[in-house]
Symmetry: C2
Subunit: 171 residues, 2 copies
């Protein structure tokens, strides 16, 4: 079996731990991780961590990846404006491939029209928008609905990563 690959889509002002904890965790398992963004070079988190952009968003071919991860922070405000990001999210849903969104990360899924009827969670302040888009919002540390894993905030990262490992059959 070929090594697994994960795709993280983010942008400047990401929530640092919501990107870095999944990034390091997946690498612990030997999974190759691409960080894709609209800009090239590097992106910078709200807390000042810089991470290298390994893939330009426009060049991403989704067939290459086993999971899509959408961290939060202010980044999703920019990511959700990108048609390519929305198309990528739709691809994962169409193929029933795992998508994991935390905090504001779910905003990209709202803009892609993917949340109607789905059980999920998100950062508290995003909940009204999520409900309005037809999602079945739950205020709990992690929600798994078929291919979709979602969490609320950094303190949910242990539960978020546990479910990501389960869906990848790594635990």
């Amino acid at each position: 079996m070929a090594a697994m690959k994960a795709l993280i889509i983010s942008a400047d002002n990401f929530e640092d731990t919501e990107l870095l904890v999944p990034y390091y965790r997946l690498k612990e398992e030997g999974i190759e991780v691409d960080i894709a963004s609209m800009q090239t070079g590097s992106i910078r988190g709200k807390h000042g961590y810089e991470v290298a952009v390994t893939k330009s968003l426009k060049d991403v071919t989704p067939e290459a990846y086993d999971i899509l991860i959408l961290p939060g922070g202010k980044a999703p405000e920019a990511v959700r404006q990108e048609k390519k990001a929305l198309d990528l999210a739709r691809y994962f849903f169409n193929k029933n491939k795992p998508v994991a969104a935390i905090c504001h990360g779910g905003q990209t899924l709202i803009s892609a029209g993917l949340v109607r009827g789905r059980k999920m969670t998100c950062y508290r302040s995003v909940a009204p928008e999520m409900n309005e888009a037809g999602a079945l919002y739950e205020d709990t540390e992690v929600v798994v609905d078929n291919n979709l894993i979602s969490s609320r905030q950094p303190s949910d990262l242990p539960a978020f990563m546990r479910e990501i490992m389960k869906i990848l059959k790594l635990r």
Copy 2:
């Protein structure tokens, strides 16, 4: 078997990911984690993350823990001045219990007189001090010498956590 417990000793100006990544990773496994410090309330990382101090350093009873983790940043400069922290580190070494130090975390082990003859690594700028104290420094992402696991910097966290999981028999 009783649930495992981990002890993190740190202080203000810790390197945020070097504390938070192990913290969340251990919680993912259902391990209870205490964060001990000289101060009470919370400690604040270099990048602004605040974490609650769950145990006053003076009240720590080391028998309760399966592993000691020493994150880096500027915190070890303060931690290494605390006799109680040095005594705790010596307890883990005497009992051959796992100790994992990353970056500047090893400075606490230097002050405790525990590094002579041990293969280990640390942040580049700490290497001269480590060699002088008799350690066998290696410039590599992770070094395991019996009970002691050490890494250099945040980008080594995947290898650091992989070895921590192995020593705890969780992988």
